[in-house]
Symmetry: D2
Subunit: 471 residues, 4 copies
């Protein structure tokens, strides 16, 4: 097999369109082989301690460790029908002295499964970094907009005012939860250890008989060299619930990004028109429809997030059906769902970062909506204050209601909202409140409660959380 694939065959979008090169390399066949060789070298070193192999053999393996030759390995695999054994042979052809002791006494799954765990940790770490980038960008925007008042929408209906920073803080709070989960998983991801065909270590007992190492010490030395903890109990593989945990963490990131991107799509709809995706300068001005800017990045984020959301279910089934000491019905789909989940989330985060950094706030639209809708909610404050000063609550309520209907009719006909003036000038209201007092109460922008403070507090918490984390 030649080593090139072109556009005459199916190429996954994750091969070239979505995700970073960095993540794509982690999921390459070549990287798999690098991880295997790293484990074989570690194995040989520990076997050297046990007196099972020689220093020369170890040194030879070390010398050839980086010499990945996929083409040769795939050629050998055609005959051997076993990818790991083909790599053993490829490596052995290169390392004439140490070749014979590669994989000595090991079970394939001891190498493959620990390699999987190492890779998953690399991917979790990279993903956590990307979330950190998004969080820092969010923190900055939150602080900038902590006090920028805008209408909040419940049921897609304008409700009371909030601030843009506080709305962003909601997203950031979710991303922070994602970040902490990813970091926790990166710190706690475990390998199978070295426990043989069914997890009992029986074959290593044979191997180590007469040496100075127990199976426990042997495993501890090896896992120490790999910097990876092992599960206490495994069967042929590590418990597949770990895959499910990881996919859930990725689905969590996807969920947070999905909500943010969907909100952006709504807010970018011209009748609301408050937010916009950053727009390339080349793209500007090409159209006779100046408002028409499709939120294609946000749509893409949502599209990929939807894909990611479906994957934990598959991992659940894999773990649930890992019959007795394992079956292989996880293998085929793990080749798809693990890389594609990480690559999809990679793309999601890279796009989200650009969206957050470049998010355009259309201040005029924000203010227009606040003007149009904010005052309605604020009438309750006028009512409360006038009642407190002795007004008849029911009568005042009816007056306000009538003005509200009039005002809404004006708004519907593209007129500016007259409600504040109608109320401030109403004689029944003026019996209790001056026009200035009424206008002040009706100023929506003054009534956002703790939103700015809470937004800022969250931004600080983000910076603290990320500062603490070793990168």
């Amino acid at each position: 097999m030649s080593d090139g694939f072109n556009h005459e065959v199916f190429l996954s979008p994750f091969t070239w369109r979505y995700g970073s090169d960095e993540m794509r390399r982690l999921w390459s066949l070549a990287h798999t082989r690098r991880l295997w060789r790293r484990i074989w070298v570690a194995l040989a070193r520990v076997q050297r301690q046990a007196g099972l192999v020689t220093a020369e053999q170890v040194a030879d393996l070390e010398a050839h460790q980086d010499q990945i030759d996929i083409e040769r390995a795939l050629t050998l695999e055609e005959d051997l029908k076993h990818d790991l054994m083909a790599e053993v042979h490829t490596y052995a052809e290169q390392a004439k002295i140490g070749g014979a002791i590669i994989h000595l006494g090991a079970t394939s799954m001891d190498v493959e499964d620990n390699a999987d765990a190492l890779r998953l940790r690399e991917c979790l770490t990279l993903t956590a970094q990307r979330v950190a980038d998004v969080l820092l960008a969010l923190a900055e925007r939150i602080e900038q907009e902590a006090g920028t008042v805008c209408m909040a929408f419940t049921h897609l209906q304008p409700a009371e005012p909030t601030t843009i920073g506080y709305r962003l803080a909601f997203t950031a709070q979710d991303f922070l939860a994602d970040y902490e989960r990813l970091r926790q998983l990166a710190a706690s991801v475990k390998g199978k250890g070295f426990k043989g065909a069914v997890g009992t270590s029986a074959s290593y007992h044979e191997l180590l008989r007469g040496t100075n190492l127990s199976t426990r010490e042997f495993e501890a030395a090896l896992m120490g060299a790999l910097g990876l903890e092992a599960f206490e109990v495994t069967h042929q593989t590590y418990p597949r619930r770990q895959d499910w945990d990881i996919l859930n963490a990725l689905a969590g990131v996807a969920m947070t990004a999905y909500k943010f991107a969907f909100d952006l799509r709504l807010l970018q709809s011209p009748p609301i028109g408050e937010w916009r995706e950053p727009f390339g300068s080349r793209q500007i001005g090409s159209s006779a429809m100046p408002f028409k800017r499709n939120p294609i990045h946000a749509e893409n984020v949502d599209s990929l997030a939807r894909y990611v959301a479906a994957l934990p279910q598959i991992a659940w089934e894999n773990a649930a059906h890992h019959l007795l000491e394992r079956t292989l019905d996880d293998s085929g789909n793990r080749r798809v769902i693990l890389p594609e989940a990480f690559l999809a989330v990679d793309e999601i985060l890279l796009r989200t970062l650009r969206l957050v950094r470049g998010l355009q706030i259309e201040r005029a639209a924000v203010e227009r909506n606040l003007r149009q809708y904010g005052v309605f909610a604020a009438t309750e404050r006028v009512l409360m204050e006038a009642a407190r000063r002795g007004g008849n609550r029911q009568a005042l309520h009816e007056i306000i209601r009538q003005h509200s209907l009039t005002a809404w009719a004006a708004v519907q006909s593209d007129q500016p909202n007259p409600l504040a003036d109608l109320i401030a000038q109403d004689e029944h209201i003026r019996a209790y409140l001056s026009a200035e007092e009424a206008q002040a109460l009706l100023d929506a922008s003054a009534h956002v409660g703790d939103a700015p403070a809470r937004a800022r507090a969250l931004a600080e918490r983000i910076r603290a959380a990320i500062a603490l984390a070793p990168r």
Copy 2:
């Protein structure tokens, strides 16, 4: 156990809040017992033909067929640990003469599984009727609004004009597909037939030995009496893919309703403001926020639809894991997912019917949006026509672009859209088009292509499809 359950325990919303009484009865324990007894009577009648039982026995069973006594049956079940056998005993206590021959020679699953198929057909038929009701309501609205021009939105951005009828026709086309699928399933739902413990009919061979009926004739007579086709091949139960097919059909209905309801939620958002849920007269006027009407029915439709969408996956797993001649790992969840899917869809359709019938079109908002956004898209027609008459395409494009930017700035500041006037009065445009010509080309409402005709054609197709169907 007393026969009442109250609000001190968990009561599913499908027991009292969601779904119709009609559908709720079909999923009652009492109805299950009625179906079982119907099958036992049919069984006795055919066994009478075969000379295995007497006319008196059959007549006795017929006389007591409707005497369902759940309380007694549940008491007996406590001892017997078998719900079907408990019902046999309950029935036998009532039918002193025929009691001994109830269930003669049958396997539990022959009774239970055919009863399930009968019930599923009843539910499919009822659901299809509800979809038909929605479709007829839609057809009426489509015809009313076939020519009502409004802005179409792609990417939530105003694009070109369409008509409200045509937009509704999209939903109706999907519901029509749902309707046809439901009717097809109702017509083709099959029972297990009478094939014994593993589907071979071996026990009926024993039973019928020496009678005038073969097992094939026996099954045909029985299924004929029940009006139900049987699968040719079964194991202990009918193939569970049938459940999956049915749940998919329900998920299809849920999908169509979901999109319609989501669109409604968007269109009811005041900045767009074109559609509204019907609003009870008691609810009106209570608020100082006259625009604020939460689309709670549409939200509920979407919420329940989301539940229904998750259920086919469970049925897939049931069918896929029906190991060898069957296992029982479908049983527990089928008690939940089948009734709840039908009841959720029942509620969805009842609400959708009210939404369609009572859908309020806010004509002023429709026209405002058309005015604000429609003219931008229409500038392309001016460009094309002016170019056709000899204008320099590129120069004209730039002129239009400048006017568009000016117009959009005005719209953003709550001004009426000046674009049509700017273009119609522009001297470079007037070199090729009169102001009247330009205004005509810029009138969005004149450019909805086939939308009205296609909408009407679909309404007709709906009426024809439903008229054809036997109800």
Copy 3:
């Protein structure tokens, strides 16, 4: 970008490991371009009828239709940021005469979406053929094994006998349903037609003004040329429920294959040991564990099937959220789920075909299990017959129960099952039945009811269904 991708990056298993080259080509970028060009040529031909373009232009486009140049197109796309427009330019560079009229008056989605429909039909047809291959192989095995008696298992417990052919017929009946669904979809898949940006055909009205073609005639001519029906009503794209229908059909195939493969995995477990995957001759004899043959192909089928089962949910969400006249949040994940679903099912079917054709029946194990377990179920026939001849049912039942316990203890200690002899020699039984009569009744293999006949009938139905189908 060079046109080769190698194993230093992520390559989907569907790029090289799973699925056929034939299916892989259908999902290549190159094939997409071929479909687009086919549509552009059809478009030009119909525009020629309408007098909008010249015969020379059409001929030039035809001459260069097959000259796909992905490398050039991708280079252009880097600037244009639009894949379809990049292809227009690539094609136009080749076709100097017709280049200017490529895509004349069309909307991108009119080309892309109809191309999608054409490809989906090709894939459905190929998949249906693969199912047909499996069905014919099954029909042959069913006929061979229609009368081969084996134990049936319910709850994974030996129950009554059935036949291997009948068990296979269950799988075949499900595949036949899949086949019919796939063929029906292949016959009914619809394109968007040519309806412009929001489905109203407004832009084609402009284009065709003054020609001899109405928009309806224009669309009909074009779709006729493509051999594809169009939806009556669309928005910017065809209704995305079509994707969901197709993915459900594929999930159905996956479900059927999953059950078959899972059954095989169970039956290949040595303690049961009745079925085996075909085993390459090179693989044989390498092991000291002659019974140990991992059912890796069946495991792989199940693994990929589990992936396919998760995908319809994503398509449901896409269709349900296709807000108003469409949003783009389907686009990103459709690039993944459509090709990967077809390629996974392709692999599943190719493996299933090999499994069915090469399925090894371990006759000795089949008979051993029948001997060990079949006789227990058969004791009921002895009981019934002895009772019919005047025996005391209760007393005889107890006698049989005692013998059964004795026999089971023997079986548990690796002894042959003595039950038939114990019963046939029992004096209380002999009072009613001769030893020969008892042995005959206890012969499980004589009691498989209609299983052989029904199995054969199904095989015939398969042949008839496939013979009827045009390939």
Copy 4:
């Protein structure tokens, strides 16, 4: 509405069939009302501190707190169309003095959402206790069976020996992860706090103006009284990702139980026959098929687990679509998925507990399988040892392979496995190993590595983890 529902309507199996009464009560309407009243009393007490209400009012509310009257509340709801307001009125009718200040200044969602959080914590705590019960039962069985050697199966093929305790430890390790996750969630579940309609606390700012409490202090006092932390940032509700986290934790429990139950179903299949569900004494002996005991509890566990596994996806969609400051499309399905997930898991855990406690080990079958299959794997040890002592590896391998084939043929014909004898007596082997040495190496039961030690270590870890936890 009368307060009883009977079997003439749909009654969810979770109303009467599945789950404990304890869990069922937590999800009753009555319990909801109790939680609301608890919050209202807490609210009044804090408002008393702020000087907004009187001590008499608070005392009156406390006096009537427990007087839940669902019937009255539902009657009022018919008019009010608002369940929380109906409860306010019901309570107010009872508390003549304090009635007027119930819910003073609060938003419905402040009461409902915090009540939800309180209930979720109660349910998480109860579920964690149930997992702890299962874990302690497992620990006991693990210790009992830590050294009981049995065959391990990979790919459902006998592989090497392991111990029953070690196999159980795998399940226990997963349940321990579930337990820790549940306890962590129970400890960290957060409420919305008291933040008003859009999460800004603006309305509480008004309410508290002029009092001695800031909104922060007010919220802190209230949440302190409820013993519940609040999210720092919320919109109208707490972030719905919390529901998703909780459902994932439940799906985790379901996954662990699923695998255990599926393993049990496999091991209970008579040809393997090693494990059995506990069997009621009344059930024993009724059958002439003494081996036939359907694992109905394990099947039920798997069935319900499959349902639970599908629910997190719904919660994901709810959280992802909680548009802007919230929409209500979570509400309808949350009434279903939250209670049903907890009740299903409750049933799963209660059954799992019975399965673990009553798990029957069929020692004869365990030993038979070990005898039949264990020796094959052990031949490798003979080979290694003989080679170590100078034997020709390749020649010896062929000898062993021949004996293995002979032995397997014997096993297939229901004969005891002769392999150990064949090898021990083989003269080529005896050149290097005495018969005793060979037999010793071939004794599978001596080769289970660390399995017993690791199993015991896990049992200890379980006891320690649970002893630490406050109950």
